[in-house]
């Protein structure tokens, strides 16, 4: 049993690093890439939480989240290339 703390710490570091990229940029796409990574990580985190809280129903939340995040990223990406 490694314990959830290790995962959480790794995820926290990962989140921090991508947050750095969100703020640092320099281009809008850089920020968006970082956000995209964060959403992916968050999805994983949500799944992990479902297990931690022993609630399978939370998995639906993760899927909804992943889906909305995907839609959002695509929208921004298309906006940036002038595809709207």
């Amino acid at each position: 049993m490694i314990g959830i703390n290790v995962y959480l710490i790794l995820i926290a570091i990962a989140t921090l690093l991508s947050t750095y990229r969100v703020f640092r940029g320099p281009t809008a796409v850089d920020r968006l890439v970082a956000v995209d990574i964060m959403t992916t990580i968050t999805t994983g985190l949500m799944v992990l939480f479902a297990l931690y809280y022993r609630r399978m129903i939370f998995l639906d939340v993760a899927l909804v989240y992943a889906l909305l995040a995907f839609g959002g990223v695509i929208a921004f990406a298309r906006y940036m290339e002038g595809g709207l």
Binding site: Y53, R54, R55, M56, I57, F58
Partner: protein, 114 residues
């Protein structure tokens, strides 16, 4: 000592308000408003949280005594939708504004005054 959730919620509220007070671009101000709303929503759910309890869905072995307060969560759902609606309205107003004024700088959007 104040809880980290409260701290986060208040921080979001203040950051949002900061954007409204300092950023000149209308869109940034609107983003500030959205951040504020997020902060308020976070505050609401934090207030409804009860240590050691789970989401108020009474399945998978969770009974009434193992669930957190369902009301704030219900309120937040409503508040989120309201926030979305406000943002949508604000964006379309911003679109008109940009069309008519050619700028989104608040200091130039002041034909109505006095």
């Amino acid at each position: 000592m104040i809880s980290v959730y409260y701290f986060g919620a208040i921080s979001l509220i203040l950051i949002g308000l900061y954007a409204v007070l300092v950023k000149k671009n209308v869109l940034k101000m609107l983003i500030g408003l959205s951040i504020m709303e997020t902060g308020v929503n976070l505050l609401l759910v934090s207030i409804g949280y009860i240590s050691g309890r789970s989401a108020p869905i009474l399945s998978e072995g969770i009974g009434p005594n193992q669930a957190v307060d369902p009301i704030p969560q219900a309120l937040v759902l409503t508040a989120i939708v309201i926030g979305v609606a406000t943002t949508a309205m604000a964006l379309s107003v911003a679109i008109i504004l940009y069309g008519k004024y050619g700028t989104l700088n608040v200091e130039e959007i002041r034909r109505l005054r006095g």
